[in-house]
């Protein structure tokens, strides 16, 4: 069988390149990387060696100490190899060829990452960008995002990077961090013992939490790269690239900036809201449904605190949220216009989850409308003060703590529906 370049995958690679603010190469070449292994049915892997489809770009990370730019070296297309399975049979390695030959994007970063935390942020940012673009679902468990992690250490102040070791195929952010910490410590120990680091390929054993040597530089394959004669060089016009550019959605960095400018939310809040495209979509829908008299603070809080808690508890994605953005917007507006109190809102929120019920309906059906009629509240408070004369006197004598008691009584008497602000005001006046 002969290989044919997959147009869809070329588009996905270019889109990702655009998302990485990278140079898209008008001409790229597919090469053969030759080596014998059972995971490679052809005896060679079609990859891009000298002329990748995407060149240099960068990614911005939001670190606690500020923003950090990480350089992208290149992005190239290649065929995935089969999956070697070492842990099913005690004496044999099994090979699953299902993904063999499927197109894969390899993104190579420059040696700019300095800590496991930065690696964590980098992977998350890459994943976020690719999910915005729809070019990778980022699912590490299923292997749709995997990483080869290169680690080197150097004496503090040294300008030259140390010899690196490559840890192959790490498939979770947690394992990545563990592997880096282990590997960095291993290298530091070696250097402190006066030994040299061998450039080698290593494997991370997740059970033992250690990295193991797979092959050293001396055993490294001579891959005998040469242009694949079955595939002609890939030529891409500027028009083609421009067309794809026009299809690119607003990406997290731009969205964040816009959220801050347009919605006057804090950079921290914006970062949380844009990190995942579905969260950003949900937030924007809530904002648009809230209408003119919108309350951003309420919106951000209800999404990042109340809704996130529910989603986390139930382990569901925001795209499948049990409460629609439309109904959450209504709930927030009910708070904003004083129809319900924040406390009642939480009760309603719980009820809404049972089939995405309109909060307005719950308010009416359960009679949860907030009591904001000052006269009615005054007579209610008069009665409470009358019933608790001694406590009122104690309060007047300076036992200020008792104020809370009266507020509680008033709320209780109103079935929780009394407008807490008004209760405060009236109590202060009457006591």
């Amino acid at each position: 069988m002969l290989p044919v370049i997959n147009e869809y995958c070329v588009k996905q690679a270019i889109k990702t390149g655009i998302g990485l603010k990278a140079k898209i190469n008008n001409k790229s070449v597919f090469d053969r990387k030759n080596y014998f292994y059972a995971d490679l049915p052809q005896g060679y892997q079609i990859s891009q060696y000298k002329y990748p489809i995407v060149g240099e770009g960068n990614v911005i990370l939001d670190m606690p100490e500020g923003q950090k730019q990480v350089g992208i070296e290149r992005l190239h297309l290649e065929q995935d190899a089969g999956k070697s399975i070492h842990d099913i049979d005690p004496s044999n390695t099994l090979v699953d060829l299902n993904r063999s030959g499927v197109a894969l994007m390899e993104i190579v970063s420059k040696p700019d990452l300095r800590s496991p935390d930065e690696v964590n942020a980098y992977i998350k940012k890459l994943r976020s960008i690719m999910r915005y673009l729809g070019t990778c679902d980022g699912n590490m468990q299923e292997g749709s995002l995997r990483a080869d992690v290169n680690v080197s250490v150097r004496i503090k102040g040294s300008t030259e990077l140390g010899t690196r070791c490559e840890i192959k195929n790490v498939n979770s952010i947690k394992f990545m961090q563990m592997a880096i910490i282990y590997e960095a410590n291993r290298q530091v120990d070696l250097i402190e013992e006066g030994e040299e680091i061998d450039q080698e390929t290593r494997l991370f054993d997740t059970k033992k939490n250690e990295t193991r040597s797979m092959r050293s530089k001396e055993d490294a394959h001579d891959y005998r790269y040469f242009p694949d004669p079955d595939l002609l060089p890939l030529e891409i016009t500027d028009e083609f690239i421009d067309q794809l550019k026009s299809e690119i959605p607003e990406l997290p960095d731009d969205k964040k900036k816009r959220f801050i400018d347009e919605f006057k939310i804090s950079p921290y809040e914006a970062t949380i809201l844009v990190s995942d495209i579905d969260t950003a979509k949900y937030f924007e829908e809530v904002v648009s449904k809230m209408g003119k008299n919108r309350d951003m603070k309420l919106a951000v809080n209800w999404i990042t605190v109340e809704l996130f808690a529910v989603l986390n508890n139930k382990n569901i994605e925001i795209a499948h949220s049990p409460i629609s953005a439309k109904n959450l917007a209504k709930l927030i507006n009910l708070i904003k216009n004083g129809t319900i109190s924040g406390k009642i809102a939480k009760t309603i929120f719980e009820l809404m989850m049972d089939g995405d019920i309109d909060p307005q309906i719950i308010v009416v059906e359960k009679g949860l409308k907030q009591q904001s009629d000052p006269k009615a509240l005054e007579s209610l408070i008069d009665k409470i003060i009358n019933d608790n004369r001694e406590k009122a006197i104690e309060y007047k004598q300076g036992k200020e703590k008792l104020f809370g008691f009266f507020v509680g009584q008033a709320m209780k008497a109103s079935g929780g529906k009394a407008n807490p602000q008004l209760i405060n005001e009236i109590l202060k006046k009457k006591l």
Binding site: L2, N34, P41, D222, F226, P229, L231, L232
Partner: protein
């Protein structure tokens, strides 16, 4: 009625369309003759019973609008045929039965052709005498113990012996044209990108090209028309407007300019080849062509360039034969041991030699000096032709520097074997169409061929020149059926 098997394809089609011969009668004749010709060893796999069955089915429901109505055809065993064993002449594919069909053979079946069998060839098409085949030597029907050429040696032998009305071969460095020249038949290598490589066991991907082999030029034009097609499954297939080669075939080549490259007068070229060429020039003039001396200055680098590029690609293309997925598997103590034993036992000497050459020239440290340099020289060779085609429409050369040689004569001298492709290899490197037509005989009465090389995608001019020269040359093979009991 004359013997069906001696008819040309054109005559056979005519007879079938006029219902003078049924498909089944034709199939029976070719099967019968093939069965009496086992000494030639032209077949690797026979498909005789199935061919007879399918020919009957054709006769029951004939479709005379097809270009090859019920025509039995044997093909080189390098084309994958669905559910019919495909060996590429190698032990390593001895038991390989493809689950898909090559585009070229599918095109033939779509036009009514019926598979007669799979024809012997040099192992993975690497050879010029058919002696590298795991399935043994093939006899040239011209004379006993004469090689039929290679790598499409089974094809040329079967064709010259009338075991098949036409056949298809593949040509990486001359594997269609040289065996055609050795057997007094016609062989055409089309422009690279004309015929899909999909389903052809790959030797050197940037050079491999399938093409027709036939008893006369007209038959090649009919078969080319069937097999040449744009194919999305082959990224190097080219979507150009293809002629109706057979209906546009003409002997009117008046005023056509034919170039004679001086660099093809190689050292130690036998006089009979020189004389054949001179005669060819006269024939061309007689046909009304204008003869122009040209220069292709990088010709002498073609063979070394070819023996870097082709083995390099082959070393990678043949990596898939590792005993894991299909084909031969030898038992080994570990994965690597199994690979080594499988490939040691599965490949023959010539294939191993080329894998080693190819691996070497691609190795780090040698890549620039060999492979990259060869690619640059290849461009220069291509440029030579481009420049020549500013002045001429086609080029006339001998097909081979000698006539067919004896079995065993060159098998221990690879370089002398490689030299046999000296006139054909540049055409593959430049991706051009080239045809070999029988043009005379040497002192032993063995056939000699002339090669006409054309501009890219200009198969029609190549065919027209060959068609008109063929008439003047009026060559007829004299086959005695010496191999029959």
């Amino acid at each position: 009625m004359t013997d069906i098997t001696s008819l040309s394809l054109f005559e056979l089609i005519k007879n079938i369309k006029e219902k003078k011969i049924s498909s089944n009668e034709a199939a029976k004749s070719f099967v019968d003759r093939s069965q009496k010709s086992k000494k030639l060893n032209a077949y690797v796999t026979e498909n005789f019973e199935n061919c007879l069955k399918l020919s009957k089915e054709f006769d029951n429901k004939p479709n005379y609008d097809l270009k090859l109505p019920g025509i039995p055809i044997a093909v080189k065993d390098l084309f994958c045929t669905n559910e019919v064993r495909t060996t590429a002449g190698s032990n390593i594919l001895n038991n390989f039965v493809p689950s898909y069909e090559s585009t070229v053979t599918q095109n033939i079946w779509n036009e009514g052709g019926i598979l007669l069998g799979k024809l012997n060839c040099d192992e993975f098409a690497m050879g010029s005498s058919n002696e590298t085949s795991f399935f043994g030597n093939v006899q040239n029907p011209i004379a006993k113990d004469l090689v039929p050429g290679g790598s499409s040696g089974g094809s040329s032998s079967a064709l010259a012996a009338n075991l098949t009305p036409v056949t298809i071969g593949t040509d990486t460095g001359g594997s269609i044209r040289q065996p055609a020249s050795f057997t007094g038949t016609v062989g055409l290598k089309p422009t690279y990108g004309s015929c899909s490589r999909y389903g052809i066991v790959a030797f050197a991907s940037s050079l491999d090209q399938a093409g027709p082999m036939s008893k006369d030029v007209k038959d090649s034009s009919i078969l080319l028309e069937v097999i040449s097609s744009f194919d999305k499954k082959d990224s190097t297939s080219i979507d150009f407007k293809r002629n109706n080669y057979s209906s546009e075939l003409t002997r009117n080549i008046k005023g056509i300019k034919i170039g004679i490259p001086k660099e093809y007068r190689v050292d130690k070229m036998p006089d009979e080849i020189e004389n054949l060429w001179k005669k060819g020039i006269e024939y061309a003039k007689d046909c009304g062509a204008e003869i122009i001396d040209i220069s292709l200055p990088h010709t002498s680098y073609a063979l070394p360039t070819y023996y870097i590029v082709a083995p390099a690609e082959a070393s990678s293309n043949l990596a898939r034969y590792d005993g894991v997925k299909y084909g031969l598997r030898s038992s080994g103590e570990s994965l690597i041991d199994m690979y080594e034993k499988t490939r040691s036992e599965g490949f023959g000497e010539e294939v191993k030699r080329r894998i080693m050459i190819g691996t070497y020239v691609l190795s780090s440290g040698y890549y620039d000096a060999y492979y990259l340099k060869a690619q640059k020289v290849r461009q220069l060779i291509k440029k030579d032709f481009d420049e020549a085609y500013n002045k001429v429409d086609a080029i006339l050369t001998p097909s081979t520097p000698s006539s067919a040689f004896k079995i065993g004569e060159k098998s221990n001298d690879p370089v002398s074997m490689y030299l046999n492709d000296i006139f054909t290899v540049p055409v593959n490197l430049a991706g051009l169409p080239g045809i070999s037509i029988p043009a005379g005989r040497d002192k032993n009465n063995y056939p000699l061929g002339l090669q006409i090389i054309g501009k890219p995608f200009d198969e029609q001019t190549v065919l027209n020149i060959a068609y008109s020269m063929e008439e003047k040359i009026n060559y007829k093979n004299n086959i005695t059926d010496w191999w029959m009991e």
